[in-house]
């Protein structure tokens, strides 16, 4: 083992080595197809439950047409930071579109959703402030708060009573309090109570930032996310999100008041010190936003599939936790069984993601499944057969 791997790192290395030896390691396998309902992994086509490409837009012909056109005009990338030459006319058009969609004054694009969270948090709070995080927020939020230099406190997942107690307790100690939530939680598939969060932040004089990653394109009458679902467009102060889920692409955004967005542009290191999203990607994402309005059938099909899938899994006897969205956990509650289950379904042609400690507590080990609008009934039925067979064999159901 190289000198770069320290003693604490060796413990993890030993675990990974054991998983590989047991032939149950399924992370970062080689993919040789597009991310559709079926995906070719390790040389074989499998039903794809591992992606967040919920609407299937990454392979939509209209999106690909827009990408090709932008590729011909702008080339592979734009060769600089957004503050330099990295903001093209289509970057501006996409920013305006997102700001309109969320009913905000301005929007800024960042190279990834992770960076959108780092940037939005760093631009909002600093030393002398406090971030109040739901216990299940995405890692990008925790890292963003660390980068900001503010204090961080945690409240129990979706427990707004616990948040209220915490707000009351810390409100005199800090200049600014920023409540941060995921709109839809990436591991459990449930969503935040925007109505109550808005009431609390108004009552205690706090600010509210929401991460729309798994919500945009999924929740709401028009697919405009959590604010659309609650019909409360102005409830959050800042909205961040990503294109890696709703468009199956890459890139992030932050939208809010124009003076705040201007401040972010000139102060957030995640924005300033990174090359801009390639124009071809921006063009594809822009077309995806148009499709959200023009082709609501994709969202309808996604919701039909979510209902069918959740119902089917429960009927077989699986515990899907609090999920109500396209993120569906199969709670197995044992790390070794989770890894084995995942490998066995993989061998049967179903590709999913095992989530174990330290990502979740050991007793919450699970298989994470991402439902797609492009899954066929045959895909879902076949997956039920496989889950049932393997679940019985391992004594999970």
């Amino acid at each position: 083992m190289s000198q770069l791997v320290s003693d604490p790192m060796k413990q993890q290395a030993a675990l990974l080595s054991m998983l590989r030896k047991e032939n149950i390691y399924t992370y970062s396998l080689e993919v040789t197809s597009a991310c559709a309902n079926r995906i070719v992994v390790s040389g074989k086509e499998r039903i794809n439950f591992i992606s967040n490409n919920y609407l299937g837009f990454s392979t939509h012909p209209e999106v690909l047409k827009a990408v090709r056109k932008a590729l011909d005009k702008y080339g592979l990338g734009i060769g600089g930071s957004p503050l330099a030459c990295g903001t093209t006319d289509i970057h501006y058009r996409l920013q305006e579109k997102i700001a309109r969609l969320y009913e905000r004054e301005a929007c800024v694009l960042l190279p990834s959703g992770y960076q959108a969270l780092l940037g939005s948090i760093q631009a909002t709070i600093g030393k002398g402030d406090v971030a109040l995080l739901d216990s299940l927020v995405h890692r990008s939020i925790v890292d963003g708060v660390t980068l900001s230099g503010s204090d961080k406190r945690m409240w129990l997942h979706n427990d707004t009573e616990d948040l209220a107690t915490l707000l009351e307790r810390v409100k005199t100690k800090y200049q600014r309090m920023l409540v941060i939530v995921d709109s839809v939680y990436s591991m459990d598939g449930d969503w935040a109570d925007l109505k109550e969060l808005y009431r609390l932040k108004e009552e205690h004089g706090a600010l509210l930032l929401i991460d729309e990653a798994h919500s945009l394109g999924v929740l709401g009458k028009r697919g405009y996310g959590l604010p659309d679902h609650f019909n409360m467009p102005q409830a959050p102060d800042v909205i961040a999100g990503t294109f890696s889920k709703f468009a199956g692409a890459v890139g992030g955004f932050v939208t809010g008041p124009s003076d705040f967005i201007d401040h972010l542009r000139h102060n957030a290191s995640a924005y300033i010190f990174s090359a801009s999203i390639p124009p071809m990607t921006v063009a594809g994402v822009y077309r995806s936003f148009e499709l959200l309005d023009e082709e609501p059938q994709w969202r309808e099909r996604l919701w039909d599939n979510i209902s069918y899938f959740l119902k089917g899994l429960k009927e077989i006897g699986f515990d899907t936790g609090p999920s109500r969205t396209a993120v569906v956990p199969l709670l197995i509650r044992d790390m070794e069984k989770t890894m084995t289950f995942n490998k066995m379904i993989f061998d049967e042609g179903v590709y999913a993601s095992p989530i174990v400690h330290p990502a979740v507590p050991p007793a919450e080990s699970r298989i994470r499944l991402g439902v797609m609008a492009t899954h066929t009934k045959e895909d879902l039925d076949r997956s039920f057969e496989v889950f049932k067979k393997v679940g019985k064999k391992l004594g999970i159901i």
Partner: protein
């Protein structure tokens, strides 16, 4: 300080850990490790410390606190600081 008892510290800290872990106080064991047994990440572990130190109004030494891995280690630390 001074008037607080070891029993009270234990009771208060177990109540906080029970709430954060979703367990009942009587299900918790002194030797439970925050990370491995209770599934706490660093954020939740620090929140547990923040809640108990707020309750007794003292500032912990974060370097010392970071070393504590089990329920009993934190209780002993609190007793040392508060009694």
């Amino acid at each position: 300080m001074g008037t607080v008892t070891a029993d009270q510290i234990r009771k208060d800290f177990l109540a906080i850990i029970a709430k954060l872990s979703g367990k009942k106080p009587e299900q918790l064991k002194d030797g439970d490790r925050f990370r491995e047994d209770l599934g706490f990440d660093s954020l939740k572990s620090m929140e547990a410390i923040s809640r108990i130190t707020e309750m007794y109004d003292f500032d912990p030494d974060l370097d010392e606190v970071m070393e504590l891995q089990t329920i009993i280690e934190v209780i002993k630390y609190l007793e040392k600081k508060l009694i």
